[in-house]
């Protein structure tokens, strides 16, 4: 399975997907005009990963901003992880900056939809 590393830009987040380590990182800003295109390789990578996942899968989501077009794609990513959770123990860490209630709320919104427990982690600004 292929490792996927995308460096962050002013409009797109850093993505590190390391299937051999069972690790996924999403960090930074996700505000592209066309988010479907951007998230496509990750969605496909997660699909492939689900055929032979590691026993444990750790996911760190540390987004600073995301637009509504990305929010659908993030939900798609989380739904893939929900599917993987049957074959691997998935741990989702949702990071939000101190006082960023909107980002905490966004995590809670996802948690209400996705059947995988989230760990909410507050970080200093």
């Amino acid at each position: 399975m292929e490792i996927l590393i995308l460096e962050g830009t002013p409009k797109t987040p850093t993505i590190e997907f390391k299937p051999s380590e069972g690790y996924l990182l999403l960090r930074g800003r996700s505000i592209p005009e066309n988010s479907i295109e951007f998230y496509k390789p990750l969605i496909e990578g997660l699909d492939a990963y689900n055929s032979s996942p590691q026993s444990k899968t750790t996911v760190d989501i540390q987004l600073e901003y995301f637009n509504t077009s990305s929010s659908k794609c993030v939900l798609d990513v989380l739904k893939k992880l929900e599917a993987i959770n049957g074959n691997s123990e998935v741990i989702i860490n949702w990071y939000y900056e101190e006082d960023d209630e909107d980002m905490l709320e966004a995590g809670e919104d996802y948690q209400a939809i996705i059947n995988v427990p989230f760990k909410m982690i507050e970080v200093e600004e």
């Binding site: 005009e33 066309n34 509504t68 077009s69 659908k72 709320e105 919104d109 939809i113």
Partner: protein, 192 residues
């Protein structure tokens, strides 16, 4: 010669921090966001305010961008042109947009805005989750979440108006105000 001083005075009196009229491109959005970010840094805005304004800016600008991309044929005179302004007065930010729209789109837009404006913050949260989970995503990735998110983050009612231009076109104006210290007020409310 045109009176440039008039333009200047109008912008000064209106407390306009930034204004743009013209074609909205992806690169332009990147630049505007960078300019506004550094302006808010200079003003030493609290991170909470900065994030809210930035988020609403992104959604408003991308609404314009996608609108112009879809309906460019609808603006024969002002091709792909829109207006965008940011105002700051008495610690309150206003993000204002204006664009042409074909008349058929006016009623659906008005209905959407009125639906959103009739909701309180809890109802908006529920509505957002509903659309996020069930709503069909448009090819551009929009999917109707933008306005709901703008209303949620703004914490105020969305102000809007439609001005008829001719038998085909209407000019749509939107004013989004960013409530200051909303979280603080809510927290205090909870304490009571």
């Amino acid at each position: 010669m045109e009176n440039i001083h008039d333009f200047y005075t109008k912008m000064e009196e209106g407390n306009i921090m930034l204004s743009f009229k013209g074609e909205v491109t992806s690169d332009l959005l990147t630049s505007i966001l960078q300019i506004m970010e550094s302006k808010m840094d200079t003003l030493e805005e609290p991170p909470v305010v900065k994030k809210k304004v930035y988020n609403i800016l992104v959604e408003c600008l991308q609404n314009l961008y996608h609108h112009l991309e879809n309906d460019d044929f609808a603006t024969p005179i002002n091709e792909k042109s829109a207006l965008f302004m940011i105002k700051k007065q008495n610690d309150e930010y206003s993000i204002m947009t204006g664009n042409y729209m074909v008349k058929e789109n006016v009623m659906p837009m008005k209905k959407r805005l009125d639906t959103i404006n009739a909701m309180d913050s809890m109802q908006l949260k529920t509505y957002y989750k509903e659309v996020l989970n069930n709503g069909e995503m448009s090819s551009k990735g929009g999917g109707g979440l933008g306005m709901i998110d703008i209303a949620r983050k703004s914490g105020k009612k969305l102000e809007y108006r439609f001005d008829d231009v001719d038998d085909k076109l209407t000019f749509f104006s939107l004013n989004v105000k960013v409530a200051q210290n909303r979280n603080k007020e809510e927290k205090e409310e909870k304490v009571k």
